[in-house]
């Protein structure tokens, strides 16, 4: 048995198999009696599930700073039938976890639980979604704690760079661009939050996503608790129209000095389309080549060759009404100008030279493997597909993305780089010493 194997020739890589087609399982779709759509990604082999209730109730919909954030944050702090402490105790007693998250356009309430405890969880979830109380005492504590955390995060150069970038890009008055001030906290009252809640947290503004092992009687349970006629669609909410970006072309670098910094934080960006645009998929590949993965040109140049940083990335931010492209990194404080030079060198190289087939093959296969990972299993499918449903798109978006990844040519990539990488227009923010 021992040593019967012949030694292997390590200089030859094992033959590569092509990466499998995506198999995206179709979720089951339900509609609750009060018209809430419910989309379920089933994994019967698990013993756990998640319930994600998503509302169009992010910052976009607020009329004053922080209102969306704290409406969402306060949901767990007390309802008509439970105190904040009761909610925490009940949920955690069953080993469940409750997360509330407020983002740009959407806000959500997510519950992770053992599937057999779903009946115990739904009455609490119902009260959170329908009968939140916004108690003054809890609000004061939450606001104060958040204000203190703001003070700490303001000591971080990357936070300052992000804030400044957002302000210059969207505008100081824009719901996505304003910089939070301590005084904003003092303006928040239970009444304002309650008004926002009544207006935006209702069945007509909401989708429920499930993933994992879903009990056979789940539809009945959801109808009983979240689909009953005591929770009805509010008519007549109109949505604000798109606010123009404050972004203007400028040659200068916005430099903020923070004495004693040993690193400088850099953000460079430019407006772009979102993922509904026909050029999105090709740009997605282009972005990967530039700075979208660990083998990207920016990582090779600025981390591996120069040793200026621990990490650098570029990314496409797709929002329902906006989109932008940006590059972020924290670098040796004295080298920020060289880093800017190298970043623009890499961008210009994409506009000038064709990407080699060798490099493109690596990127194609990496992206296809990554897509396979993001769509592997019910939980991944649920979170990845939500990113398409938000734009009224479906699994087809990912099939088409995969097709472009496989087929986009070096010439098309260069044309995309020329069309969208206008280096003279890019917004540059640096927070350093």
């Amino acid at each position: 048995m021992n040593n019967t194997h012949t030694s292997v020739d390590r200089s030859i890589a094992p033959p590569l198999k092509s990466i499998n087609q995506l198999h995206i399982g179709e979720p089951k779709r339900y509609t609750l009696k009060n018209d809430i759509p419910m989309i379920a990604f089933e994994a019967p082999e698990q013993s756990v599930m998640y319930i994600n209730v998503v509302f169009k109730a992010g910052k976009w919909h607020q009329e004053e700073p922080l209102v969306a954030t704290f409406t969402n944050r306060l949901l767990r702090e007390g309802t008509a039938n439970y105190t904040g402490k009761d909610i925490a105790n009940e949920i955690e007693f069953y080993g469940s976890t409750l997360k509330t998250q407020s983002r740009g356009y959407y806000s959500q309430v997510t519950l992770y639980c053992l599937s057999h405890y779903l009946p115990e969880m739904l009455p609490i979830l119902k009260d959170i979604l329908q009968n939140a109380a916004f108690p003054q005492k809890e609000l004061t504590t939450v606001l104060n704690n958040s204000k203190q955390r703001l003070l700490v995060s303001r000591e971080k150069n990357n936070v300052l760079a992000e804030e400044k970038f957002g302000e210059l890009f969207f505008g100081a008055e824009h719901p996505y661009g304003y910089v939070v001030q301590e005084s904003h906290y003092d303006q928040i009252t239970p009444e304002k939050l309650h008004t926002f809640y009544k207006k935006h947290y209702h069945p007509g503004n909401c989708t429920i996503y499930l993933a994992g092992k879903i009990p056979d009687n789940a539809l009945d349970l959801f109808n009983q608790h979240l689909g009953a006629d005591d929770w009805q669609i509010q008519e007549g909410t109109t949505e604000r129209s798109t606010i123009p970006l404050a972004f203007t072309t400028s040659k200068e670098t916005h430099y903020i000095s923070k004495p004693d910094s040993v690193q400088a934080s850099i953000r460079i960006g430019v407006p772009l389309f979102n993922k509904t645009h026909p050029d999105f998929a090709a740009f997605y590949v282009l972005n990967a080549i530039l700075g979208g993965y660990f083998g990207s040109r920016l990582v090779k140049n600025i981390r591996e060759d120069k040793g200026y940083t621990y990490g650098i990335y570029s990314t496409i931010v797709s929002m329902l009404r906006y989109g932008y492209f940006y590059i972020g990194t924290d670098v040796k404080a004295d080298e920020w100008e060289n880093v800017l030079k190298e970043i623009f060198f890499e961008i210009n190289r994409l506009k000038k030279d064709l990407v080699s087939q060798e490099e493109l093959t690596i990127v194609r296969n990496y992206l296809l493997g990554n897509l396979l990972t993001n769509l592997d299993g019910a939980f991944n499918c649920a979170s990845t597909l939500q990113g398409a449903y938000a734009y009224n798109m479906d699994a087809n978006f990912f099939h088409q993305l995969a097709d472009t990844i496989k087929s986009v040519s070096p010439e098309e990539l260069r044309a995309i780089a020329i069309r969208y990488f206008d280096t003279d227009k890019m917004l540059k923010v640096v927070v350093g010493k």
Binding site: A43, V48, S261, G369
Partner: protein, 414 residues
């Protein structure tokens, strides 16, 4: 329940396979039994620096990441006090590529002065990004130094000092590689859309002829003597709010008290129903954040409490309030419901950890590292056997003044 098959190659490499037919992906998790506790006190941060070098190519592989990416895979790694763990996530039909890559870097890693110099710069930037250019960035450095006088847990994984990284030498790299990066010091777990027989053949083919290190011996690290007196240190720095850090010595991961200790920490700080959150953040409003965790190491470890104070609260007042919560354990047993809650939470987190093949693969490797992989499936039973009385006993042992190191990290000019 996690199912697995286990076998061992003649060179000592332990191989564990978890078959999961619900995925088209495979994960190759290769754990080396070496961490920052194995470092020389004057050359700290080395295990982690070495982890970076593992991605710089090997004899037959110019670029590790490129070769994996072209097969649709991606990779990462982490270093802790007790281990260095590498994993490759890859479409299952390209599994062999990961075997080629992992075996080649175990057999013959590339190193050169140039590669080392460059990577020292990258790791120095990592050090700055996370531990210098951050408010409170050095707090854990200082707390570990205060709590440990002898044991290598006294320095953090990133290293005691930036200068140690900058002084690393190529000869250190060579000897570290030769000693620790050998099949008899590693555990290979392959999980996902794979078959045991296929893995057995691949393991034999790619790892079978890598030589074991015959000199590998059981480590003997200095044992931390019991702490005899309360320790306290004060740092004044340019931070916006005062922060409190407290460390208490606890047992090691294999000690019979481990599961009780884990639940004790959960009662103290698990979630928003926990005692610290409810009493000191919500009721008394002394802190705006306050958490406890334990380091769970293979040698005697720490429970660490850390929090940021609200304006107007003195650090002494804050520490006294934490003590009051800790002493509650010693005067009254926790209720049955509180006990049940933390056990339920453990059960639930086990169930959630089984959703990802990456988690499953790492846990399998970790339990094998601890000495007996079979324990992975009776872990929950060990938690179920914990009683309120046991929690009280451990709390009495741990939450003693002379077992505590306290760091007062306060804002300058206030």
């Amino acid at each position: 329940m996690v199912s697995y098959n286990k076998f061992q190659l003649d060179n000592g490499l332990r191989v564990i396979v978890h078959e999961d037919k619900n995925t088209a992906l495979a994960i190759v998790n290769l754990l080396y039994d070496v961490g920052s506790r194995d470092e020389d006190e004057n050359k700290t941060g080395f295990a982690h620096l070495f982890e970076h070098l593992m991605f710089k190519g090997s004899k037959n592989v110019k670029s590790f990441d490129q070769a994996l990416n072209v097969a649709g895979g991606e990779s990462n790694a982490f270093t802790s006090t007790d281990m260095t763990n590498y994993y490759d996530l890859i479409p299952a039909n390209n599994l062999e590529t990961a075997f080629w890559l992992e075996s080649d870097r175990m057999l013959s890693l590339n190193f050169s002065t140039e590669l080392l110099e460059k990577e020292k710069e990258v790791v120095s930037e990592e050090f700055k990004e996370n531990y210098i250019n951050q408010p409170y960035g050095n707090a854990m450095h200082e707390l570990r130094k205060l709590a440990y006088k002898v044991h290598p847990y006294k320095w953090p994984v990133i290293g005691k000092d930036l200068s140690h990284i900058q002084e690393a030498k190529l000869t250190d790299v060579q000897s570290f590689f030769d000693y620790y990066y050998t099949p008899n010091n590693a555990i290979l777990v392959v999980a996902g859309g794979v078959k045991t027989e296929e893995v057995r053949e691949l393991a034999q083919k790619w790892f079978g002829n890598i030589k074991a290190n015959p000199k590998l011996s059981k480590r003997s690290l200095p044992k931390e003597p019991p702490q005899q007196a309360y320790r306290q240190e004060r740092i004044e720095a340019n931070v916006p709010v005062d922060a409190l850090y407290m460390a208490f010595h606890i047992c090691d991961r294999l000690h019979p008290d481990y599961h009780t200790t884990d639940l004790l920490v959960e009662v103290l700080s698990g979630g928003t129903s926990s005692r610290l959150y409810q009493s000191l953040i919500l009721d008394q409003k002394l802190f705006n954040s306050l958490l406890a965790h334990h380091s769970g190491g293979r040698d005697e470890s720490l429970i660490i409490v850390n929090g940021k104070l609200n304006p107007g609260v003195s650090i002494e007042q804050a520490e006294a309030a934490v003590w009051e919560q800790l002493e509650r354990f010693t005067t009254e047993e926790i209720s049955q419901r509180e006990l049940q809650k933390v056990i339920n939470k453990v059960e639930s987190s086990f169930a959630f950890s089984e959703v990802s093949i990456g988690n499953k693969a790492f846990y399998l490797a970790y339990f094998e590292l601890l000495g007996n992989i079979d324990h992975i499936n009776n872990e929950i039973d060990k938690y179920r056997h914990v009683t309120s009385k046991m929690i009280q006993q451990v709390a009495k042992q741990v939450f003693r003044k002379e077992n505590c190191s306290s760091l007062h990290y306060v804002a300058k000019n206030k």
